[in-house]
């Protein structure tokens, strides 16, 4: 019992222990991932719309954007957003005649960075899902006199989610893991708390492993949720 305490003592809850701090960090990690996903889904839908549109003016910037994000490290994008948003804010402030010295909140910067990454991948998933609806159904809709709008709202859109859910489930796991990059810009999410705890208690191995275990729990639970969502999306569809 005594050895167990010296081994895991720093992770205990309450006074002198880091257990509650780590859980708070994990909570912030979840918040970060959820906010990034929500913003990323909206942006991803808009991007997919732009990519599928017939206007080159919309299509090309959207393609350029996804190409950029998919070819540049997430870490670099996060740093560009983190330092760039501060500059942009202060530049706007000074050109409006206000005093400089503002700082974009780290949480907001991290959400923006992560959602920009999420959106690029979500755009491809939505585009694929849109094209996955069989053309026969679209023609059938047109044949019975539905307008293009009705075809979209009643035939394409409801099925979009069904085709997109496996990809989006994957993407959720990716964004959950990518939140750890925010530790580098000193946002107090799970990994950074583990780093601080490890440095304070001089037990980095224990604390980083604890963080790893918490990440593993979060991804495992997500995986179960994803499987049941996928099963729900497939309901009523004949097995091939």
């Amino acid at each position: 019992m005594e050895t167990l305490h010296t081994l895991l003592g720093p992770l205990s809850f309450g006074q002198g222990g880091w257990g509650d701090d780590l859980l708070k960090g994990a909570f912030l990690t979840l918040q970060l991932a959820l906010c990034a996903m929500t913003a990323g889904l909206v942006l991803g839908l808009l991007l997919a719309g732009a990519k599928l549109s017939s206007s080159r003016l919309l299509r090309w910037p959207a393609s350029g954007y996804t190409l950029f994000v998919r070819g540049v490290p997430e870490f670099l994008i996060l740093l560009i957003v983190f330092f760039g948003s501060d500059r942009l804010l202060n530049w706007t402030a000074t050109s409006l005649g206000l005093e400089a010295g503002y700082e974009v909140p780290k949480f907001l910067a991290a959400v923006i960075g992560l959602s920009l990454i999420f959106a690029a991948y979500a755009c491809e998933i939505f585009r694929g899902a849109y094209l996955a609806v069989p053309t026969g159904q679209i023609e059938a809709g047109a044949a019975i006199g539905l307008t293009r709008r009705q075809v979209f709202l009643r035939i394409r859109f409801p099925q979009l989610w069904r085709f997109a859910i496996p990809g989006l489930g994957n993407l959720w796991m990716v964004v959950l893991k990518d939140t750890s990059l925010a530790a580098v810009i000193a946002l107090n999410e799970l990994l950074r708390i583990a780093k601080l705890g490890g440095e304070t208690e001089i037990r980095p191995l224990l604390f980083f492993t604890a963080a790893g275990v918490i990440y593993l729990i979060m991804t495992s639970v997500s995986d179960i949720g994803r499987a049941s969502l996928e099963a729900r999306a497939r309901r009523g569809v004949a097995e091939v």
């Binding site: 190409l67 950029f68 998919r70 070819g71 540049v72 490290p73 997430e74 870490f75 670099l76 740093l79 560009i80 330092f83 760039g84 500059r87 893991k177 990518d178 939140t179 750890s180 990059l181 530790a183 580098v184 990994l191 780093k195 490890g198 001089i202 037990r203 980095p204 191995l205 224990l206 980083f208 492993t209 963080a211 790893g212 990440y215 593993l216 991804t219 495992s220």
Partner: protein, 246 residues
């Protein structure tokens, strides 16, 4: 010898680019190219070793023998379920903190070398993801072929090697190409354990001049790398289609 070769490359590339490059890139060019080469060498090694390790992991998982399948499954599960950054920090800062007394001289010299630790973690990480990709590929190869091979007396391992795996890899190749690009992007994280790869050099340059265009130059170099990887993947894919069509 090899180091001199790298200097030669960076000198000639920077000299060639000097009429085009602005003030900032001109000054930092040797650093960028040096980091670029470190990133490439780590990627080639990690993906090369990781490819074969992934095949080994896949075979172990499909072998139906628990002492083989269980550790392989656990490794894949853990490496896919945790962030790469956490893996790097556990092994470099975590194990590295144990010190020479606990680790012994050989392990200690390994764990205090960030380049080697980075290579180890990248290799294990990519092999876990690639193993999952190969497993998906195998699921799409007709099982009857394996049964046919076994029924004419071919050993399981040879049947996998000669019949199942080549087809599985061909099916999984586009997904494998995606994973290579993701790996390239992930490799930027080894800069957090003090390796001076492209990202590490970029952060060093940025820490001195605080100029955001530094990051844009790095982004361009990473895009070039992504283009090279995609071209490589497409070339191999075309070759495989040719040999399949024959």
């Amino acid at each position: 010898m090899y180091q001199e070769f790298k200097y030669l490359i960076s000198d000639s590339v920077c000299a060639g680019l000097s009429p085009l490059s602005g003030d900032l890139f001109g000054k930092a060019c040797p650093r960028f190219i040096d980091g670029f080469l470190v990133t490439i060498e780590l990627l080639v090694l990690a993906c090369g070793i990781g490819f074969f390790l992934a095949i080994g992991l896949t075979l172990a998982r499909m072998s139906g023998r628990r002492p083989l399948a269980w550790p392989a499954t656990a490794l894949v599960y853990v490496f896919r379920g945790t962030p790469l950054l956490v893996q790097l920090w556990i092994i470099y800062f975590g194990f590295g903190s144990l010190g020479e007394d606990i680790l012994g001289p050989i392990l200690w010299s390994f764990f205090k070398n960030p380049w080697l630790v980075g290579l180890l973690v990248l290799t294990l990480n990519t092999s876990a993801y690639v193993s999952e990709i190969f497993r998906g590929g195998l699921a799409n190869v007709d099982r009857g072929q394996l049964e046919a091979a076994l029924s004419i007396g071919m050993p399981w391992l040879r049947a996998m090697r000669r019949i199942m795996l080549p087809q599985a890899i061909r099916i999984a190749w586009p997904a494998y190409g995606n994973e290579l690009v993701l790996m390239m992007k992930g490799s930027a994280l080894i800069s957090t354990i003090t390796v001076l790869d492209l990202m590490g050099q970029t952060r060093t340059v940025f820490a001195r001049n605080f100029d955001l265009t530094t990051y844009l130059y790095a982004a361009i170099l990473y895009l070039v790398l992504a283009g090279l990887i995609t071209a490589f993947v497409n070339t191999i894919e075309r070759r495989m289609q040719l040999s399949a069509g024959r």
